[in-house]
């Protein structure tokens, strides 16, 4: 009469994930049920198709980029640990965490890590800079066919101009962070 979901996930594993991501015990078991229900192939990993099966994600203009963020470089499958690690970026900050000690490793969902995550969504080639082309690509994904190339180009130019401080016509991570200062 034990619980089915957590018997497939050993307690030690749950503890490790808890330490790494900060999710609670029950959240981890719930997310594990979610993981297994998405895993139609029942092989313990998710593929890109498994994600695409979620209608609300499939119609998200940035859906493909977000799905990509779950998969490590060059791989096509993500296991539960990887799934949780990526999800942890968007875990809401609990009140009892706000005054955590500053000496420990930065939690995955800290503001800086969230910004880093967003930066990586723009920076396709991972050269730590958002070039005009990369910005244009993301813009094109978000607006579809509704805005002309010229107009989109000028939007991209303006954005880079506003954020760029060292004059290299690209946005580095530091410049990216500065642009968010007002949020």
């Amino acid at each position: 009469m034990g619980s089915r979901a957590s018997t497939l996930l050993r307690d030690e594993e749950i503890e490790e994930i808890k330490k790494e991501t900060g999710f609670s015990h029950s959240q981890i078991t719930r997310l594990y049920s979610r993981f297994t229900s998405l895993d139609k192939g029942e092989n313990g990993t998710l593929s890109r198709e498994d994600f695409q099966r979620i209608p609300e994600l499939a119609i998200n203009p940035l859906g493909d980029r977000i799905i990509n963020a779950f998969f490590p470089e060059g791989e096509d499958q993500v296991n539960f640990r990887g799934f949780m690690r990526t999800l942890a970026h968007f875990r809401p900050i609990e009140d009892n965490e706000k005054s955590k000690d500053q000496n420990g490793p930065e939690p995955l969902n800290s503001r800086s890590n969230k910004l880093h995550f967003a930066f990586r969504l723009y920076d396709l080639d991972k050269d730590d800079k958002i070039s005009r082309d990369e910005l244009l690509q993301v813009l094109r994904m978000m607006v579809g066919v509704n805005i002309s190339d010229e107009q989109l180009g000028s939007i991209a130019d303006r954005t880079i101009q506003e954020a760029d401080q060292d004059g290299d016509s690209a946005i580095s991570f530091a410049e990216f962070v500065k642009a968010f200062q007002y949020l």
Binding site: M1, G2, S3, R4, A5, S6, S24, H25, S26, Q27, T29, R30, L31, S33, R34, S37, L38, F51, Q52, R53, I54, P55, E56, L57, A58, I59, N60, P61, L62, G63, I66, L87, F90, P92, F117, A118, L121, Y122, V138, L139, M142, V143, G144, V145, N146, I147, Q151, I155, R158, T159, A163, I171, F176, A179, F180, L183
Partner: protein, 446 residues
């Protein structure tokens, strides 16, 4: 040996006599002897006791665990539209931070989305002593285990054989009865007998599932020449509805047992069965249905516009085809109580036989059926709007969530047009085109 044989024969004949007298005969006249009610009362008391024991036991162990699993949502959604969200951040231009809106929506969809959860059984708040619904409930006490064991014995050794017997008798009576009635010449006697046969078989089948059905607003029951429309959870929806009235079924011809039943019943009463090839021809289907509806002597058609089984927590998109036939629509809302047995058929997980076995080894099937007042298509209303209006009425009455998504998403991919709509809306905002588009996702772009 002979004594054994005689004893078994005697036991069997007593058994059948009881079944005949207590269940079959009352079914013919539609009486109820109160046995099911007694069973239900005992069952409800037992489950309430079990719930209290679980809650007490859990308080001793891990206090937070039960509470967290009872909450069916893991994320706190902020219900804003794209416009409000992005507009609140700034104004008519693109900003690097816009990406966060889509990010958040994406992550929320990954953790818990509105659509895929409708294609698997509803989670229970407290355990109902069936192993199949045991997700997060742990060992509590010896007494509970004993009750569970008794439950297993009762369900598998007592109820299952009884239900199988009844189901066999019910199906046989339907086939034989309708074939016999079909031999009669058309006329009012034939209709009356056909009704009797259909009703009796339905009643026997409902008892085969230990069904407790509460019908509300019987004054709105579908009339002849109308179309009855209901939300779809499982094939037994049909039995639930025919238990209280006679309908003309609509469907595709099957082979096997279903085919035999279809061929037999259509002799007694004009059901509308389509060959596989005919189903593809929409005009032909429409024509036949229109003809049926136009004849005021024919029984109301029964249609499930969702087109597929949904898990009874929500109503998904109604396909507009049923609403283009014309005539009066009689909406019916069906809501099952999942505490006693899960009626939802997850056809990707269970085949027909295992589904029926699961049904027959549940405690009971309890449901509420509401007959809603008839609706007609209004002036200037197209089929899609009419379909949505009926859908809202059914969702409201049954206490179900209303979703614009297509039930077909169970198997098919979502159409690109929805993504394009989102992109269009976003473009309008950053280019500052003045009036914001309406975020009407889910309309059928057919």
């Amino acid at each position: 040996m002979e004594a054994w044989g005689a004893a078994v024969a005697a036991a069997l004949s007593v058994w059948f006599a009881l079944v005949l007298g207590l269940i079959l005969l009352p079914s013919v006249v539609g009486l109820s002897l109160g046995i099911s009610e007694l069973y239900m009362t005992v069952l409800v008391k037992t489950l309430e006791w079990a719930t209290r024991r679980i809650e007490k036991g859990v308080k001793k162990q891990q206090a937070r665990m039960l509470k967290d699993s009872a909450s069916n949502g893991i994320i706190q959604r902020v219900d804003t539209t794209m416009e409000k969200e992005i507009a609140s951040l700034h104004r008519a231009d693109f900003e690097l931070s816009d990406i966060f809106y889509f990010c958040r929506e994406g992550f929320e969809a990954i953790v818990e989305d509105e659509v895929t959860q409708r294609f698997s059984s509803e989670e229970l708040v407290s355990w109902n002593l069936l192993t199949r619904t045991n997700i997060n409930f742990q060992y509590i006490s010896l007494r509970l285990t004993i009750v569970w064991v008794i439950g297993v014995l009762v369900r598998y050794c007592l109820l299952l054989p009884l239900r199988l017997t009844l189901a066999t008798i019910g199906i046989h009576s339907m086939i034989v009865g309708t074939t016999l009635v079909g031999c009669l010449p058309n006329g009012s006697i034939k209709d009356w007998l056909s009704e009797l046969v259909h009703l009796t078989s339905s009643r026997i089948l409902v008892r085969a599932l230990s069904g407790t059905i509460h019908y509300h607003n019987k004054e709105n029951k579908p009339q002849k020449g109308g179309i009855c429309v209901a939300n779809h959870t499982s094939p037994i929806d049909v039995i639930i509805l025919t238990n209280d009235g006679c309908y003309a079924m609509v469907g595709q011809t099957h082979g096997g047992l279903m085919g035999v039943i279809q061929r037999a019943t259509v002799k007694a009463c004009p059901h509308v069965w389509f060959e596989r090839s005919e189903v593809k021809d929409r005009h032909l289907v429409m024509k036949r249905l229109k003809e049926h509806v136009a004849d005021k002597n024919k029984l109301p058609i029964l249609i499930f516009p969702e087109g597929t089984c949904i898990n009874n927590t929500s109503v998904m998109m109604f396909k507009k085809g049923s609403f283009e036939i014309g005539g009066t629509i009689y909406p019916v809302a069906i809501k099952y109580d999942p505490q006693f047995g899960d009626a939802f058929w997850n056809s990707s997980k269970y085949n027909a036989v295992s589904y029926l076995l699961r049904l027959m080894t549940s405690w009971a099937i309890v449901c509420n059926v509401w007959y809603l007042p008839p609706m007609v298509r209004e002036e200037g209303e197209d089929a899609v709007q009419f379909a949505n209006r009926v859908k809202s009425a059914i969702a409201l009455q049954g206490g179900l969530t209303e979703l614009p998504w297509d039930g077909g998403l169970k198997r098919a991919k979502v159409k690109e047009t929805f993504k394009e709509e989102q992109q269009k809306n976003y473009s309008k905002m950053i280019v500052g085109n003045g009036s914001s588009g309406n975020l009407s996702s889910g309309t059928e772009p057919d």
